[in-house]
Protein backbone atom coordinates (compact mmCIF):
# COMPACT_ATOMS: atom_id res chain seq x y z
CA UNK A 1 0.00 0.00 0.00
CA UNK A 2 1.50 3.33 -0.94
CA UNK A 3 0.46 6.91 -1.32
CA UNK A 4 0.65 9.14 -4.34
CA UNK A 5 1.72 12.70 -4.59
CA UNK A 6 -0.62 14.81 -6.70
CA UNK A 7 0.21 14.29 -10.35
CA UNK A 8 -1.36 16.84 -12.65
CA UNK A 9 -0.53 16.35 -16.31
CA UNK A 10 1.84 18.95 -17.64
CA UNK A 11 0.57 21.82 -19.78
CA UNK A 12 2.47 20.40 -22.72
CA UNK A 13 0.61 17.10 -22.40
CA UNK A 14 -2.75 18.36 -23.60
CA UNK A 15 -4.86 21.34 -24.52
CA UNK A 16 -7.83 21.81 -22.12
CA UNK A 17 -10.19 23.12 -24.80
CA UNK A 18 -9.33 20.25 -27.14
CA UNK A 19 -9.87 17.75 -24.31
CA UNK A 20 -13.34 19.09 -23.53
CA UNK A 21 -14.44 19.55 -27.15
CA UNK A 22 -13.19 16.16 -28.37
CA UNK A 23 -14.48 14.33 -25.28
CA UNK A 24 -17.91 15.90 -25.76
CA UNK A 25 -17.98 14.96 -29.45
CA UNK A 26 -17.11 11.34 -28.63
CA UNK A 27 -19.93 11.25 -26.06
CA UNK A 28 -22.27 12.85 -28.60
CA UNK A 29 -21.51 10.27 -31.31
CA UNK A 30 -21.59 7.28 -28.93
CA UNK A 31 -24.95 8.23 -27.47
CA UNK A 32 -26.37 9.60 -30.70
CA UNK A 33 -25.79 6.61 -32.96
CA UNK A 34 -27.35 4.12 -30.56
CA UNK A 35 -30.44 6.27 -30.12
CA UNK A 36 -31.20 5.94 -33.86
CA UNK A 37 -31.48 2.16 -33.75
CA UNK A 38 -35.26 2.23 -33.33
CA UNK A 39 -35.44 3.81 -36.80
CA UNK A 40 -33.97 0.66 -38.33
CA UNK A 41 -36.51 -1.66 -36.75
CA UNK A 42 -39.07 -1.54 -39.57
CA UNK A 43 -36.69 -1.56 -42.60
CA UNK A 44 -34.47 -4.37 -41.27
CA UNK A 45 -37.43 -6.43 -40.13
CA UNK A 46 -39.15 -6.05 -43.50
CA UNK A 47 -35.99 -6.73 -45.51
CA UNK A 48 -35.34 -10.00 -43.69
CA UNK A 49 -38.96 -11.07 -43.32
CA UNK A 50 -38.66 -11.26 -39.55
CA UNK A 51 -41.20 -10.54 -36.84
CA UNK A 52 -40.50 -7.55 -34.59
CA UNK A 53 -39.12 -9.90 -31.93
CA UNK A 54 -35.74 -10.60 -33.59
CA UNK A 55 -34.71 -6.96 -33.85
CA UNK A 56 -36.26 -6.17 -30.47
CA UNK A 57 -34.29 -8.96 -28.79
CA UNK A 58 -31.04 -7.79 -30.42
CA UNK A 59 -31.62 -4.30 -29.01
CA UNK A 60 -32.59 -5.67 -25.59
CA UNK A 61 -29.34 -7.68 -25.62
CA UNK A 62 -27.44 -4.56 -26.59
CA UNK A 63 -28.76 -2.69 -23.54
CA UNK A 64 -28.07 -5.59 -21.25
CA UNK A 65 -24.53 -6.05 -22.55
CA UNK A 66 -23.87 -2.31 -22.36
CA UNK A 67 -24.93 -2.24 -18.71
CA UNK A 68 -23.08 -5.44 -17.78
CA UNK A 69 -19.91 -4.49 -19.70
CA UNK A 70 -19.74 -0.92 -18.40
CA UNK A 71 -17.87 -1.76 -15.16
CA UNK A 72 -15.37 -3.89 -17.12
CA UNK A 73 -14.88 -1.22 -19.80
CA UNK A 74 -14.39 1.25 -16.97
CA UNK A 75 -11.86 -1.02 -15.29
CA UNK A 76 -9.91 -1.29 -18.56
CA UNK A 77 -9.97 2.49 -18.94
CA UNK A 78 -8.79 2.89 -15.35
CA UNK A 79 -6.01 0.38 -15.89
CA UNK A 80 -4.85 1.00 -19.47
CA UNK A 81 -6.10 4.49 -20.24
CA UNK A 82 -9.17 6.02 -21.89
CA UNK A 83 -7.36 6.37 -25.22
CA UNK A 84 -6.87 2.63 -25.78
CA UNK A 85 -10.36 1.68 -24.64
CA UNK A 86 -12.02 4.21 -26.97
CA UNK A 87 -9.87 3.18 -29.95
CA UNK A 88 -10.87 -0.47 -29.46
CA UNK A 89 -14.46 0.41 -28.53
CA UNK A 90 -14.98 2.54 -31.65
CA UNK A 91 -13.73 -0.32 -33.84
CA UNK A 92 -16.11 -2.79 -32.19
CA UNK A 93 -19.04 -0.33 -32.23
CA UNK A 94 -18.51 0.53 -35.92
CA UNK A 95 -18.10 -3.14 -36.85
CA UNK A 96 -21.36 -4.01 -35.09
CA UNK A 97 -23.21 -1.15 -36.81
CA UNK A 98 -21.88 -2.02 -40.28
CA UNK A 99 -22.44 -5.76 -39.83
CA UNK A 100 -26.14 -5.15 -39.21
CA UNK A 101 -26.43 -4.54 -42.95
CA UNK A 102 -25.42 -8.11 -43.78
CA UNK A 103 -27.01 -9.78 -40.75
CA UNK A 104 -29.69 -11.88 -42.41
CA UNK A 105 -30.23 -14.35 -39.58
CA UNK A 106 -31.31 -13.78 -36.01
CA UNK A 107 -27.99 -15.08 -34.67
CA UNK A 108 -26.00 -12.62 -36.77
CA UNK A 109 -28.24 -9.76 -35.69
CA UNK A 110 -27.77 -10.67 -32.02
CA UNK A 111 -24.00 -10.71 -32.62
CA UNK A 112 -23.85 -7.42 -34.57
CA UNK A 113 -26.60 -5.27 -33.07
CA UNK A 114 -26.54 -6.94 -29.65
CA UNK A 115 -23.10 -8.10 -28.57
CA UNK A 116 -20.76 -5.94 -30.68
CA UNK A 117 -22.75 -2.73 -30.40
CA UNK A 118 -23.36 -3.26 -26.68
CA UNK A 119 -19.64 -3.73 -26.04
CA UNK A 120 -18.74 -0.81 -28.27
CA UNK A 121 -21.17 1.54 -26.51
CA UNK A 122 -19.84 0.51 -23.09
CA UNK A 123 -16.29 1.31 -24.25
CA UNK A 124 -17.08 4.72 -25.75
CA UNK A 125 -19.97 6.03 -23.66
CA UNK A 126 -20.09 9.16 -21.54
CA UNK A 127 -19.13 7.13 -18.45
CA UNK A 128 -15.67 6.60 -19.94
CA UNK A 129 -15.43 10.21 -21.10
CA UNK A 130 -16.47 11.60 -17.73
CA UNK A 131 -13.89 9.41 -16.01
CA UNK A 132 -11.22 10.82 -18.34
CA UNK A 133 -12.41 14.36 -17.54
CA UNK A 134 -12.32 13.47 -13.85
CA UNK A 135 -8.65 12.60 -14.14
CA UNK A 136 -7.63 15.51 -16.39
CA UNK A 137 -9.74 18.35 -15.05
CA UNK A 138 -8.87 19.99 -11.72
CA UNK A 139 -11.36 19.25 -8.89
CA UNK A 140 -12.94 22.71 -8.96
CA UNK A 141 -13.87 22.30 -12.66
CA UNK A 142 -14.84 18.62 -12.56
CA UNK A 143 -18.56 19.04 -11.98
CA UNK A 144 -18.77 21.50 -14.87
CA UNK A 145 -16.90 19.02 -17.08
CA UNK A 146 -19.31 16.22 -16.10
CA UNK A 147 -22.19 18.55 -16.92
CA UNK A 148 -20.95 19.46 -20.39
CA UNK A 149 -20.20 15.79 -21.20
CA UNK A 150 -23.73 14.77 -20.19
CA UNK A 151 -25.23 17.70 -22.10
CA UNK A 152 -23.26 16.65 -25.19
CA UNK A 153 -24.62 13.10 -24.86
CA UNK A 154 -28.13 14.51 -24.53
CA UNK A 155 -27.56 16.58 -27.63
CA UNK A 156 -26.36 13.44 -29.41
CA UNK A 157 -29.76 11.82 -29.26
CA UNK A 158 -31.42 15.11 -30.16
CA UNK A 159 -29.23 15.58 -33.24
CA UNK A 160 -28.67 12.01 -34.44
CA UNK A 161 -32.30 10.83 -34.40
CA UNK A 162 -33.45 13.20 -37.18
CA UNK A 163 -30.09 12.84 -38.91
CA UNK A 164 -30.46 9.06 -38.94
CA UNK A 165 -33.97 9.47 -40.34
CA UNK A 166 -32.59 11.81 -43.01
CA UNK A 167 -29.92 9.27 -43.96
CA UNK A 168 -32.51 6.48 -44.25
CA UNK A 169 -34.88 8.66 -46.26
CA UNK A 170 -32.27 9.83 -48.72
CA UNK A 171 -29.85 6.93 -49.08
CA UNK A 172 -31.67 3.84 -47.78
CA UNK A 173 -31.18 2.03 -44.51
CA UNK A 174 -28.07 0.08 -45.58
CA UNK A 175 -26.10 3.20 -46.56
CA UNK A 176 -27.44 4.95 -43.46
CA UNK A 177 -25.89 2.24 -41.27
CA UNK A 178 -22.56 2.56 -43.11
CA UNK A 179 -22.64 6.34 -42.65
CA UNK A 180 -23.31 5.92 -38.93
CA UNK A 181 -20.47 3.37 -38.70
CA UNK A 182 -18.20 5.90 -40.42
CA UNK A 183 -19.16 8.61 -37.95
CA UNK A 184 -18.24 6.23 -35.09
CA UNK A 185 -14.75 5.74 -36.56
CA UNK A 186 -14.32 9.52 -36.40
CA UNK A 187 -13.73 8.89 -32.68
CA UNK A 188 -10.23 7.64 -33.56
CA UNK A 189 -9.23 11.22 -34.35
CA UNK A 190 -11.22 12.76 -31.53
CA UNK A 191 -9.57 10.62 -28.88
CA UNK A 192 -6.07 11.99 -29.52
CA UNK A 193 -6.31 14.88 -27.01
CA UNK A 194 -7.45 12.41 -24.33
CA UNK A 195 -4.22 10.42 -24.49
CA UNK A 196 -3.04 12.08 -21.29
CA UNK A 197 -5.92 10.53 -19.30
CA UNK A 198 -4.16 7.39 -18.16
CA UNK A 199 -5.17 5.82 -14.91
CA UNK A 200 -4.39 7.94 -11.91
CA UNK A 201 -2.96 10.96 -13.69
CA UNK A 202 -4.74 13.49 -11.50
CA UNK A 203 -5.06 11.52 -8.27
CA UNK A 204 -4.83 13.67 -5.23
CA UNK A 205 -2.59 13.02 -2.27
CA UNK A 206 -5.41 11.86 0.00
CA UNK A 207 -6.29 9.01 -2.36
CA UNK A 208 -5.22 5.55 -1.27
CA UNK A 209 -3.50 3.29 -3.75
CA UNK A 210 -5.17 -0.11 -4.14
CA UNK A 211 -6.00 -2.80 -6.69
CA UNK A 212 -9.19 -2.84 -8.75
CA UNK A 213 -10.57 -5.79 -6.77
CA UNK A 214 -9.82 -4.00 -3.52
CA UNK A 215 -11.55 -0.82 -4.75
CA UNK A 216 -14.62 -2.78 -5.78
CA UNK A 217 -14.76 -4.65 -2.52
CA UNK A 218 -14.43 -1.45 -0.48
CA UNK A 219 -17.00 0.43 -2.57
CA UNK A 220 -19.76 -2.16 -2.30
CA UNK A 221 -19.28 -2.29 1.45
CA UNK A 222 -19.56 1.48 1.79
CA UNK A 223 -23.13 2.52 2.72
CA UNK A 224 -23.08 5.78 0.73
CA UNK A 225 -21.99 3.98 -2.44
CA UNK A 226 -24.77 1.42 -1.99
CA UNK A 227 -27.37 4.14 -1.40
CA UNK A 228 -26.19 6.00 -4.50
CA UNK A 229 -26.47 2.81 -6.56
CA UNK A 230 -30.00 2.14 -5.29
CA UNK A 231 -31.04 5.73 -6.01
CA UNK A 232 -29.76 5.65 -9.58
CA UNK A 233 -31.98 2.62 -10.26
CA UNK A 234 -34.93 5.01 -9.98
CA UNK A 235 -33.51 7.43 -12.54
CA UNK A 236 -33.39 4.61 -15.08
CA UNK A 237 -36.90 3.46 -14.26
CA UNK A 238 -38.52 6.90 -14.63
CA UNK A 239 -36.65 8.04 -17.73
CA UNK A 240 -37.11 4.79 -19.67
CA UNK A 241 -40.78 4.53 -18.74
CA UNK A 242 -41.54 8.09 -19.85
CA UNK A 243 -39.50 7.76 -23.07
CA UNK A 244 -41.44 4.76 -24.27
CA UNK A 245 -44.87 5.16 -22.74
CA UNK A 246 -45.44 8.92 -22.51
CA UNK A 247 -46.48 9.57 -26.15
CA UNK A 248 -49.07 6.73 -26.22
CA UNK A 249 -50.33 7.94 -22.84
CA UNK A 250 -50.86 11.44 -24.22
CA UNK A 251 -52.68 10.19 -27.30
CA UNK A 252 -54.88 8.07 -25.04
CA UNK A 253 -55.69 11.18 -22.97
CA UNK A 254 -56.93 12.95 -26.11
CA UNK A 255 -53.89 15.14 -26.69
CA UNK A 256 -53.33 15.95 -30.38
CA UNK A 257 -50.53 13.91 -31.97
CA UNK A 258 -48.93 17.20 -33.06
CA UNK A 259 -48.51 18.33 -29.45
CA UNK A 260 -47.52 14.85 -28.29
CA UNK A 261 -44.74 14.91 -30.87
CA UNK A 262 -43.56 18.35 -29.78
CA UNK A 263 -43.63 17.31 -26.13
CA UNK A 264 -40.86 14.84 -26.97
CA UNK A 265 -38.81 17.57 -28.62
CA UNK A 266 -39.35 19.82 -25.58
CA UNK A 267 -38.00 17.13 -23.25
CA UNK A 268 -34.97 16.76 -25.55
CA UNK A 269 -34.16 20.48 -25.63
CA UNK A 270 -34.60 21.04 -21.90
CA UNK A 271 -32.57 17.91 -21.21
CA UNK A 272 -29.48 19.59 -22.69
CA UNK A 273 -30.06 22.68 -20.54
CA UNK A 274 -30.73 20.60 -17.41
CA UNK A 275 -27.69 18.36 -17.85
CA UNK A 276 -25.35 21.32 -18.24
CA UNK A 277 -26.92 23.27 -15.39
CA UNK A 278 -26.68 20.35 -12.98
CA UNK A 279 -22.93 20.30 -13.59
CA UNK A 280 -22.75 23.93 -12.51
CA UNK A 281 -25.00 23.26 -9.50
CA UNK A 282 -22.81 20.32 -8.47
CA UNK A 283 -19.78 22.60 -8.37
CA UNK A 284 -21.47 25.11 -6.06
CA UNK A 285 -23.86 23.16 -3.87
CA UNK A 286 -24.08 19.79 -2.14
CA UNK A 287 -24.57 17.02 -4.72
CA UNK A 288 -26.36 14.89 -2.17
CA UNK A 289 -28.95 17.58 -1.44
CA UNK A 290 -29.24 18.43 -5.12
CA UNK A 291 -30.04 14.81 -5.97
CA UNK A 292 -32.49 14.53 -3.06
CA UNK A 293 -34.27 17.65 -4.27
CA UNK A 294 -34.14 16.50 -7.89
CA UNK A 295 -35.85 13.17 -7.23
CA UNK A 296 -38.36 14.85 -4.94
CA UNK A 297 -39.14 17.39 -7.67
CA UNK A 298 -39.61 14.58 -10.22
CA UNK A 299 -42.22 13.02 -7.95
CA UNK A 300 -43.97 16.35 -7.39
CA UNK A 301 -44.02 17.10 -11.13
CA UNK A 302 -45.32 13.62 -11.99
CA UNK A 303 -48.00 13.87 -9.31
CA UNK A 304 -49.11 17.34 -10.40
CA UNK A 305 -49.33 16.23 -14.03
CA UNK A 306 -51.53 13.28 -13.20
CA UNK A 307 -53.72 14.96 -10.57
CA UNK A 308 -54.44 18.13 -12.56
CA UNK A 309 -56.45 18.03 -15.80
CA UNK A 310 -54.22 17.05 -18.74
CA UNK A 311 -54.28 20.03 -21.11
CA UNK A 312 -51.92 21.24 -23.85
CA UNK A 313 -50.42 23.69 -21.35
CA UNK A 314 -49.85 21.03 -18.70
CA UNK A 315 -48.19 18.80 -21.32
CA UNK A 316 -45.76 21.56 -22.29
CA UNK A 317 -44.98 22.47 -18.66
CA UNK A 318 -44.51 18.81 -17.69
CA UNK A 319 -42.25 18.14 -20.69
CA UNK A 320 -40.08 21.17 -19.93
CA UNK A 321 -39.82 20.27 -16.24
CA UNK A 322 -39.03 16.61 -16.91
CA UNK A 323 -36.51 17.67 -19.55
CA UNK A 324 -34.68 19.79 -16.98
CA UNK A 325 -34.65 16.83 -14.58
CA UNK A 326 -33.93 14.17 -17.27
CA UNK A 327 -30.18 13.35 -17.33
CA UNK A 328 -29.30 16.04 -14.80
CA UNK A 329 -28.84 13.19 -12.30
CA UNK A 330 -25.73 12.02 -14.19
CA UNK A 331 -23.16 14.78 -13.41
CA UNK A 332 -24.27 14.82 -9.76
CA UNK A 333 -24.09 11.02 -9.41
CA UNK A 334 -20.71 10.83 -11.13
CA UNK A 335 -19.55 13.70 -8.90
CA UNK A 336 -20.56 11.78 -5.78
CA UNK A 337 -18.74 8.64 -6.97
CA UNK A 338 -15.62 10.76 -7.42
CA UNK A 339 -15.95 12.44 -4.03
CA UNK A 340 -16.59 9.18 -2.16
CA UNK A 341 -14.19 6.82 -3.97
CA UNK A 342 -11.67 9.11 -5.67
CA UNK A 343 -10.69 9.26 -9.32
CA UNK A 344 -8.44 6.19 -9.63
CA UNK A 345 -11.18 3.65 -10.37
CA UNK A 346 -14.06 6.03 -11.05
CA UNK A 347 -14.87 4.58 -14.49
CA UNK A 348 -15.35 1.09 -13.09
CA UNK A 349 -17.21 2.24 -9.97
CA UNK A 350 -19.53 4.49 -11.95
CA UNK A 351 -20.07 1.47 -14.21
CA UNK A 352 -21.44 -0.44 -11.21
CA UNK A 353 -23.80 2.42 -10.35
CA UNK A 354 -24.81 2.66 -14.00
CA UNK A 355 -25.64 -1.04 -14.17
CA UNK A 356 -28.26 -0.43 -11.49
CA UNK A 357 -29.63 2.37 -13.69
CA UNK A 358 -29.94 -0.01 -16.63
CA UNK A 359 -31.79 -2.59 -14.53
CA UNK A 360 -34.21 0.17 -13.51
CA UNK A 361 -34.61 1.17 -17.16
CA UNK A 362 -35.44 -2.37 -18.17
CA UNK A 363 -38.10 -2.59 -15.47
CA UNK A 364 -39.51 0.83 -16.39
CA UNK A 365 -40.06 -0.18 -20.00
CA UNK A 366 -41.24 -3.70 -19.25
CA UNK A 367 -43.46 -2.94 -16.28
CA UNK A 368 -44.96 0.03 -18.13
CA UNK A 369 -46.27 -2.34 -20.80
CA UNK A 370 -47.02 -5.22 -18.45
CA UNK A 371 -49.08 -3.20 -15.99
CA UNK A 372 -50.85 -1.37 -18.81
CA UNK A 373 -51.90 -4.70 -20.30
CA UNK A 374 -53.07 -5.92 -16.91
CA UNK A 375 -55.03 -2.85 -15.80
CA UNK A 376 -55.78 -1.15 -19.12
CA UNK A 377 -54.33 2.11 -17.79
CA UNK A 378 -50.96 3.71 -17.02
CA UNK A 379 -52.18 4.83 -13.57
CA UNK A 380 -50.51 2.04 -11.60
CA UNK A 381 -47.06 2.34 -13.16
CA UNK A 382 -47.26 6.15 -13.05
CA UNK A 383 -47.86 6.11 -9.29
CA UNK A 384 -45.12 3.52 -8.96
CA UNK A 385 -42.79 6.02 -10.65
CA UNK A 386 -43.88 8.71 -8.17
CA UNK A 387 -43.27 6.38 -5.21
CA UNK A 388 -39.86 5.40 -6.54
CA UNK A 389 -38.93 9.09 -6.83
CA UNK A 390 -39.67 9.52 -3.13
CA UNK A 391 -37.67 6.35 -2.42
CA UNK A 392 -34.68 7.78 -4.32
CA UNK A 393 -34.92 11.07 -2.41
CA UNK A 394 -34.84 9.10 0.86
CA UNK A 395 -31.88 7.03 -0.39
CA UNK A 396 -29.78 10.13 -1.18
CA UNK A 397 -30.52 11.91 2.07
CA UNK A 398 -28.11 9.97 4.32
CA UNK A 399 -25.25 9.82 1.80
CA UNK A 400 -22.02 11.23 3.23
CA UNK A 401 -20.55 13.59 0.68
CA UNK A 402 -16.92 13.06 1.66
CA UNK A 403 -14.06 10.75 0.78
CA UNK A 404 -14.75 7.34 2.33
CA UNK A 405 -12.26 6.42 5.02
CA UNK A 406 -11.59 3.16 3.17
CA UNK A 407 -10.46 5.17 0.13
CA UNK A 408 -8.36 7.73 2.07
CA UNK A 409 -4.79 7.70 3.18
CA UNK A 410 -4.81 7.21 6.97
CA UNK A 411 -4.09 10.43 8.90
CA UNK A 412 -0.62 9.49 10.20
CA UNK A 413 0.50 8.51 6.71
CA UNK A 414 -0.49 11.91 5.32
CA UNK A 415 1.88 13.74 7.65
Amino acid sequence: MSTHAQQQPSLAAFNPTAVIVCGCLIALIAFGVRSTMGLFNAPITEANGWGRETFGLAMALQNLIWGAAQPFAGAFADKFGTYRVIIAGAAIYAAGTALMVTADTGALMYLAGGLLMGLGIAMTSFSIIMAAFGRLVPPERRSWAFGIATAASSMGQFVFAPLGQAFISSFGWQTALYLLAGSILFMWLLVLPLRAAKGGVARDETELDMSIAEALSRAIRHPSFVLLTLGFFVCGFQVAFITVHFPPLLIEQGIAPQLAAWSIAIVGIFNVVGSYTSGIIGAKYSRRWSLTLLYLTRSVVMTAFFVLPITPLSVVVFSAAMGLLWLSTVPLTMGLVTVICGTRYMAMLYGIVFFSHQVGSFLGVWLGGRLYDQYGTYDVVWWLGVALGLFAAIMHWPIKEARAASFSVPEPAKA
Binding site: V21, A42, A166, P247, G268
Partner: protein, 125 residues
Protein backbone atom coordinates in the same frame (compact mmCIF):
# COMPACT_ATOMS: atom_id res chain seq x y z
CA UNK B 1 -3.66 26.03 -16.77
CA UNK B 2 -6.66 27.98 -18.08
CA UNK B 3 -9.76 25.79 -18.35
CA UNK B 4 -12.59 26.83 -20.67
CA UNK B 5 -16.06 27.75 -19.39
CA UNK B 6 -19.57 28.66 -20.47
CA UNK B 7 -18.44 30.38 -23.67
CA UNK B 8 -16.95 27.14 -24.89
CA UNK B 9 -20.15 25.24 -24.02
CA UNK B 10 -22.27 27.77 -25.89
CA UNK B 11 -19.96 27.78 -28.91
CA UNK B 12 -19.71 23.99 -28.98
CA UNK B 13 -23.45 23.40 -28.84
CA UNK B 14 -24.14 26.12 -31.43
CA UNK B 15 -21.56 24.54 -33.74
CA UNK B 16 -23.09 21.07 -33.26
CA UNK B 17 -26.57 22.37 -34.09
CA UNK B 18 -25.25 24.23 -37.13
CA UNK B 19 -23.37 21.17 -38.40
CA UNK B 20 -26.39 18.93 -37.86
CA UNK B 21 -28.63 21.47 -39.61
CA UNK B 22 -26.31 21.60 -42.61
CA UNK B 23 -26.09 17.81 -42.79
CA UNK B 24 -29.87 17.51 -42.60
CA UNK B 25 -30.35 20.23 -45.20
CA UNK B 26 -28.00 18.45 -47.58
CA UNK B 27 -29.72 15.09 -47.15
CA UNK B 28 -33.16 16.71 -47.51
CA UNK B 29 -32.11 18.23 -50.80
CA UNK B 30 -31.10 14.76 -51.94
CA UNK B 31 -34.63 13.56 -51.13
CA UNK B 32 -36.34 16.42 -52.98
CA UNK B 33 -38.57 15.28 -55.82
CA UNK B 34 -37.82 16.63 -59.31
CA UNK B 35 -40.60 18.61 -61.02
CA UNK B 36 -41.64 15.79 -63.33
CA UNK B 37 -42.15 13.23 -60.55
CA UNK B 38 -45.51 11.73 -59.62
CA UNK B 39 -46.79 9.21 -57.10
CA UNK B 40 -47.10 9.61 -53.33
CA UNK B 41 -45.20 12.65 -52.12
CA UNK B 42 -44.89 14.93 -49.16
CA UNK B 43 -46.08 18.41 -50.14
CA UNK B 44 -44.76 21.23 -47.98
CA UNK B 45 -46.70 24.49 -48.09
CA UNK B 46 -45.87 27.58 -46.00
CA UNK B 47 -46.90 26.78 -42.38
CA UNK B 48 -49.27 29.76 -42.33
CA UNK B 49 -51.39 28.32 -45.20
CA UNK B 50 -54.88 27.34 -44.01
CA UNK B 51 -55.80 23.64 -44.26
CA UNK B 52 -58.75 24.40 -46.61
CA UNK B 53 -56.47 26.36 -48.89
CA UNK B 54 -53.85 23.56 -48.91
CA UNK B 55 -56.60 21.08 -49.75
CA UNK B 56 -57.71 23.19 -52.72
CA UNK B 57 -54.17 23.69 -54.02
CA UNK B 58 -53.52 19.94 -54.00
CA UNK B 59 -56.70 19.35 -56.02
CA UNK B 60 -55.77 22.12 -58.47
CA UNK B 61 -52.36 20.45 -58.93
CA UNK B 62 -54.19 17.32 -60.06
CA UNK B 63 -53.58 15.28 -56.95
CA UNK B 64 -55.43 13.78 -54.01
CA UNK B 65 -54.78 14.81 -50.40
CA UNK B 66 -54.17 11.66 -48.37
CA UNK B 67 -53.58 13.00 -44.87
CA UNK B 68 -52.19 16.04 -43.09
CA UNK B 69 -49.16 15.57 -40.85
CA UNK B 70 -48.40 17.12 -37.47
CA UNK B 71 -46.32 19.79 -39.22
CA UNK B 72 -48.51 22.71 -40.29
CA UNK B 73 -48.87 22.95 -44.07
CA UNK B 74 -47.31 19.55 -44.71
CA UNK B 75 -49.52 16.92 -46.36
CA UNK B 76 -49.08 13.46 -47.76
CA UNK B 77 -50.48 13.66 -51.29
CA UNK B 78 -50.83 11.44 -54.35
CA UNK B 79 -50.92 12.22 -58.05
CA UNK B 80 -50.55 9.84 -61.00
CA UNK B 81 -49.86 12.31 -63.81
CA UNK B 82 -46.19 13.07 -64.54
CA UNK B 83 -45.19 16.57 -63.45
CA UNK B 84 -47.25 16.41 -60.26
CA UNK B 85 -44.35 17.71 -58.11
CA UNK B 86 -43.88 20.69 -60.41
CA UNK B 87 -47.59 21.51 -60.36
CA UNK B 88 -47.58 21.45 -56.56
CA UNK B 89 -44.77 24.00 -56.57
CA UNK B 90 -46.70 26.10 -59.09
CA UNK B 91 -49.56 26.12 -56.57
CA UNK B 92 -47.27 27.58 -53.92
CA UNK B 93 -45.68 24.52 -52.30
CA UNK B 94 -42.22 25.22 -50.88
CA UNK B 95 -41.19 21.77 -52.02
CA UNK B 96 -42.29 18.22 -52.73
CA UNK B 97 -40.34 15.37 -51.18
CA UNK B 98 -40.16 11.65 -51.57
CA UNK B 99 -39.63 11.58 -47.82
CA UNK B 100 -38.95 13.91 -44.93
CA UNK B 101 -36.51 13.47 -42.09
CA UNK B 102 -38.34 15.85 -39.75
CA UNK B 103 -39.31 13.73 -36.78
CA UNK B 104 -38.94 14.75 -33.13
CA UNK B 105 -37.63 11.84 -31.17
CA UNK B 106 -36.34 11.03 -27.76
CA UNK B 107 -34.20 8.32 -26.33
CA UNK B 108 -32.58 7.69 -22.99
CA UNK B 109 -29.72 5.70 -21.51
CA UNK B 110 -31.77 2.58 -22.08
CA UNK B 111 -34.72 3.27 -24.31
CA UNK B 112 -34.54 3.93 -28.03
CA UNK B 113 -36.72 5.92 -30.23
CA UNK B 114 -39.70 3.61 -29.98
CA UNK B 115 -41.13 1.94 -33.09
CA UNK B 116 -44.70 2.68 -31.99
CA UNK B 117 -43.84 6.32 -31.41
CA UNK B 118 -42.19 6.55 -34.81
CA UNK B 119 -45.32 5.22 -36.49
CA UNK B 120 -47.42 7.65 -34.49
CA UNK B 121 -45.52 10.71 -35.66
CA UNK B 122 -44.01 9.62 -38.96
CA UNK B 123 -44.69 11.99 -41.82
CA UNK B 124 -43.42 9.69 -44.50
CA UNK B 125 -45.45 9.60 -47.71
Amino acid sequence: MQWPGHKLALGLFAAILLAAGLAMGATMLAGRASDDEAGTLLAVFPPSTRPNSVFGKIILAGGKPIRPTWVNGTWVVHGDEPGFAGRLKAQGAIGAYRNSPVLPQLAGCFAYVDAKTIEMFAIRP
